[in-house]
Symmetry: C2
Subunit: 159 residues, 2 copies
DNA sequence: CAAACAGTTTAGCCTTGGCTAACAATATTG
DNA sequence: CAATATTGTTAGCCAAGGCTAAACTGTTTG
């Protein structure tokens, strides 16, 4: 549980920069990231399906494959998983639809995604870059940071 | 390559929110994220090894396992990979060291990580939260955004 | 309405990144 | 210095998320 080399002070170089965080806190950082990685792809699928339903009226596997730049086989497998998780309903060869739980997840993810995207634009990041960055960052932004981003964006707009 | 349902405008609901980006751009978002995921764990290992070397004088597998909250077996396997990638050198039962390439990656990752962390703190995020968010966000921040974050932090400090 | 095309599913493969259990090497200590 | 504790390695397992190739279903069109 604790670091080896107890007499670190004796061997450490002279310019240590920022200190290392305590082991438990440091471990928490990585664990939180691993956790986010478990859910983020699911969130992106559900969010995209919600967007396709909202903007196109239907969400076909082929559209998802094209929009994600992934093979149709990959999408088909993932749809089975979403089904098992009871996030979508699907009849073979028909459009997907979101369950109640799926709609809730889609809304939450969409809202969070928008906050991050609008924040980056408010910061001065070009739209195309902001979109790319937001797609990855969104899954690693705490509620605390999210709230601050939202306030920042609003203040920026009242100027 | 293009969406199905060409007469989307006819079937789309009345509150479309932000429009969907063009397929190619949308695909690029997800592809960039997938790309980042391929390298981020490697970067975190190399960065941590660099930090342990800087602050402790040595980087032992057990320390990495504790700091990452991961089993020693997982670390051992990853070290083999880092060796194959020629990012670290290691003798059995001895401390790890970074190769030239490893040092370069560690520096780059550390710098990027610090910019994101300091930016979040400058935004007003609590330290513990900022550390957690930065650990995940850092891998998804473009150079463009990174530069803007750095400027923001500096301006905040000159107040 | 049959053929061609488009969309979907399945099977089987691969890599990554986790884990536990068992074993091996080194370090610490009675 | 032998016994014990710590550290490191190996083997074998698993799930996730990619892929290609082949089969199947549904739609469009000559
Ligand atoms: Mn999203
Ligand atoms: Mn995303
Ligand atoms: Mn980092
Ligand atoms: Mn990280």
């Amino acid at each position: 549980m604790t670091d080896s080399n107890p007499n670190a002070a004796l061997t450490a170089p002279s310019i240590p920069g920022d200190a290392l965080p305590p082991v438990e806190q440091h471990a928490q950082q990585y664990a939180t990231v691993r956790n986010a990685h478990e859910t983020e792809l699911i969130e992106d699928y559900v969010e995209l399906i919600g967007d396709l339903l909202a903007h196109r009226g239907e969400a076909r596997a082929a559209d998802i494959a094209n929009r994600m730049a992934v093979s149709q086989a990959t999408v088909s497998k993932m749809i089975r998983r979403l089904n098992e998780l009871e996030l979508v309903t699907s009849k073979p060869y028909r459009s997907l639809f979101l369950t109640e739980a799926g709609q809730k997840m889609a809304e939450t993810s969409r809202a969070r995604h928008d906050i991050v995207l609008h924040f980056l634009r408010a910061l001065g990041v070009k739209d195309a870059t902001a979109r790319i960055d937001a797609e990855g960052m969104e899954h690693h932004v705490s509620d605390e940071t999210l709230a601050i981003m939202q306030r920042f964006t609003e203040q920026q707009q009242n100027n």
